[in-house]
Amino acid sequence: MSISDQDAFNALSALLTGFNIGLIAPRVDPIGLPPLFLTTATDYSDGECANLLATFVALKAIDPALTDDDLGGIIMGLSPDPTTGVLIAANQTLVAQAIMKMWYLGSWYQPFEITGFKAGAQTVVSDQAYIKGLAWQSMQSHAMGNSTLTFGYWDKPPVASLQDFTGNSDVADGASPNPTEWGATT
């Protein structure tokens, strides 16, 4: 049975964002971001979104042993496609990155120039896309301007864990202090 574009998009989105598919694409979904995001990525990528989904489905079909880390690395252009020995098309990686940003920030960042839209042009996909942005979940908070909490919540650390916010049991809750990971040039 072939997988639908929407199912492939949802699975790819979960893999790349690290969020549980049940959280970002719930079975009962009154908001409907996954179809909106798939439409957006399709409409603004000159067919590259479809190519990306085809690549993803093919990779999964050809080698079921590939882990999520393997698949993500291939999609992100960090390691070669094992079936071809070379990196996937650069524009497919750019679309994948734009999809990730759409999930995290609610904005579409035009990944490459298409007719009428320059690379880097931004648009907020919808108010709910902004409000449900995963960046806010990664900080165990809420979108700026859309608190779901009540007076005084800010004087204590978040009650819910990072695992709760992401549906991902592998995340390192209470990220340990490690000044060597500041990442800046010194």
Partner: protein, 665 residues
């Protein structure tokens, strides 16, 4: 056809206008308020929230009309916005044309015509309720010495840049209390007194704030645990350092029909639930008396008087509407009253007054030639860092505490003081997070300066990185006391051909930070290093001398050279470690500044009609029935956010108008 005569005509429905309208209308005065911008119904908040959500640029003005891309030559009520000062609007040869008709920002984009030498970076709104739609809510009183700087710190120095006010703190204590109750300020007076009475914070005996304080955030408490009650900070020897909960015009309990703060982390640009006071709250109270008429979308174009020593006899105004793709305006109308109050803040008020020609080469209320001079802001030094542990910013109101205890001290003889505002919004203000860092860690870019290795992350590793990164971010904002300068000013130029959509001249701005002011930036950098040392935090602050417009690198107009390299040379080695220093530089080349949104000065009050525009009641020296109100009257800006004090002065003015009208309600 003239309007019927009112007791009072008030121009501007921001902070001072509605307060005076409410005080006087309760006492029975018949009042006309003329507001240039549109009226804002409660349902406008939903429309403004939608604008906020859908704008890619979430600057303070992003929710409000006219839209950020609007042409200032076409709109009836254009205003200064932060977006107008973005780097892309700087002509690459900006420095070559200053002083010869050029501007720092493209006048096709920027409403303000900025002649420099440095840019003025603050903005405002022209709608009913004014800039309080996007104010922060911070409601600090001024300190005792703030009113007496010259006599306290410069009595023996003929060049001392800060004058005395014509009033003392004791003259304003009762009015402060009334203003705090009108706004609904949440704070604990015992905390404020314990932390700050030794630097001259004062209250009337037995005073209590109308609402309990807003709880400090996890960020605040972390900083407080490290720095509180230390007194050996370099440059502040012997002065106590303490983190203090910030009094705020934000509900800590239900207040009338308005809800309790839910910590939306969005006071600026817009509180989604109106838990934060704004001018429309007081305006509604004024209108409820039945004595107030509001005319919105009416721009006053002239204040009429026959000459100095003569009364004001009317104001001329036009009504405007958006039609098709332009603006239509009515014939000029005249409103008359016994008393006139101009409450259009420190840029639009002097613009209007300088437009008010009396036919003899003079303009209304300007015998002193001080109108428009002494434009001030709090030039803001932003310092941002990563903590070694999670402190969970991006939660709660945008700010809940500050370091206020260094706002006064003997150093004010020589250099500017500041207050240090602690932010609860991570690096949102500093670098535009979460957008900037999310892009970095997905694309492998390094705009945040935290991805030097170019990591392209996905999946669990991306979540872990972003979680660790965002929950350890914080920033300090130092609001530096700017000195009043005669040549930092608002003027108009009817000959440059640059007008707004009503054909009115646009404000021309000259602006420069003095040496005294710049020295406050050096002390802020020295202070921040010591805080980071105590916390084990790493400084990521950038002060960039150049910026890129497209591919062209140009001088950054908001950068200035370090005014005191010697003070850095003399620091102990422990405070020169690159991780503690902005730009990693032990001795900084220079600093950059932001605006604080505080438009102050330009029609200063004073004791001498020759050197000031208004008296201590904000009454024009030249026309006894004309009051120019708001923080434009401040002789000095001090270190505190101005709204509470301008509200207190509006109470004082209200009492003076009552007396002048013979009202004793």
């Amino acid at each position: 056809m003239s309007d019927p005569e009112y007791d009072i005509v008030i121009v501007g429905a921001g902070v001072a206008g509605p307060i005076i309208a409410k005080e006087l209308s309760k006492a029975g005065a018949k009042i006309l308020i003329i507001e240039g911008g549109p009226e804002t119904a409660p349902t406008n908040r939903e429309e403004y929230m939608s604008n906020f959500f859908l704008n890619t640029v979430k600057t303070p003005e992003s929710p409000y009309p006219p839209g950020l891309g609007a042409d200032p030559a076409i709109e009836a009520t254009p205003r200064a916005t932060i977006a107008q000062t973005f780097t892309q609007n700087i002509p690459v040869d900006w420095k070559d044309h200053l002083g010869t008709g050029g501007y720092i920002y493209d006048p096709n984009i920027s409403y303000l015509l900025q002649e420099g030498p440095q840019p003025f970076l603050s903005s405002y709104e022209r709608v009913t309720g004014g800039t309080t739609w996007h104010w922060l809510g911070t409601s600090l009183r001024f300190l005792e010495h703030d009113f007496k700087m010259k006599s306290t710190y410069g009595a023996d120095n003929p060049d001392y840049p800060l004058p005395d006010w014509p009033i003392a703190v004791d003259d304003l204590l009762e009015a402060y209390g009334r203003a705090e109750h009108e706004i609904g300020v949440a704070a604990d007076v015992t905390v404020q007194i314990a932390d700050l009475s030794d630097i001259g914070l004062k209250f009337s005996p037995g005073y209590t704030y109308p609402m309990q304080e807003i709880p400090p955030s996890v960020v605040d408490n972390t900083i407080a645990n490290a720095v509180n009650n230390t007194s050996d900070f370099v440059l502040f020897e012997g002065q106590n350092v303490v983190v203090t909960s910030t009094p705020a015009g934000r509900n800590s309990q239900p207040n009338g029909s308005r809800r309790t703060c839910a910590g939306n982390t969005n006071c600026i640009p817009i509180c989604p639930i109106q838990a934060k006071w704004d001018g429309t709250v007081t305006l509604s109270g004024a209108q409820a008396t039945g004595n107030v008429t509001l005319k919105s979308q009416c721009v006053v174009t002239k204040v009429i008087s026959a000459g100095y020593g003569q009364p004001v006899t009317g104001v001329e105004y036009v009504h405007w509407e958006n039609k098709n793709s332009g603006v239509s305006k009515s014939e000029t109308m005249t409103a008359t009253a016994k008393i006139y109050v101009i409450a259009a803040h420190a840029i639009e008020t002097p613009k209007l007054m300088l437009m008010s020609d009396m036919g003899n080469g003079k303009t209304v209320a300007n015998s002193s030639d001080q109108m428009g001079r002494n434009l001030m802001d709090h030039p803001l030094y932003l310092s941002w860092s990563l903590m070694p542990e999670q402190i969970f910013g991006f939660r709660g109101p945008l700010t809940t505490s500050g370091i206020e205890s260094l706002r006064d001290g003997p150093f004010r003889s020589d250099r500017a003081a500041w207050r240090c505002e602690i932010g609860n919004e991570g690096w949102n203000f500093a670098i535009g997070d979460p957008w900037t860092s999310v892009n970095d860690f997905i694309d492998g870019s390094n705009a945040s300066d935290t991805n030097a290795g170019g990591a392209k992350l996905f999946g669990t590793a991306l979540i872990d990185k972003l979680s660790s990164h965002f929950t350890r971010q914080w920033r300090m904002g130092f609001l530096v006391e700017q000195t009043p300068e005669a040549n930092s000013r608002v003027t108009i130029n009817r000959d440059n051909g640059i007008v707004d959509g009503l054909g009115l001249p646009r404000p021309v701005i000259n602006y420069e930070l003095s040496e005294y002011t710049r020295l406050g930036f050096a002390s802020a950098e020295v202070f921040s290093r010591q805080v980071y040392q105590m916390l084990g935090a790493k400084n990521f602050t950038k002060n960039e001398p150049t910026v890129k417009v497209g591919d062209i690198e140009i001088d950054n107009p908001v950068w200035f050279e370090n005014p005191d390299k010697a003070v850095f040379d003399a620091l102990p080695d422990a405070l020169k470690i690159p991780d503690l220093c902005a730009n990693g530089q032990a001795v900084p080349d220079g600093f950059t500044y932001f605006g604080a949104g505080h438009l102050v000065g330009t029609f200063r009050m004073g004791a001498d009609p020759r050197t000031s525009v208004v008296d201590s009641y904000s009454r024009s020296w030249d026309h006894t029935n004309l009051f120019l109100v708001g923080d434009g009257v401040f002789p000095t800006i001090t270190t505190a956010n101005p709204t509470l004090t301008l509200a207190a002065l509006a109470m004082r003015t209200s009492d003076a108008i009552k007396e002048q009208l013979g009202i004793t309600a």
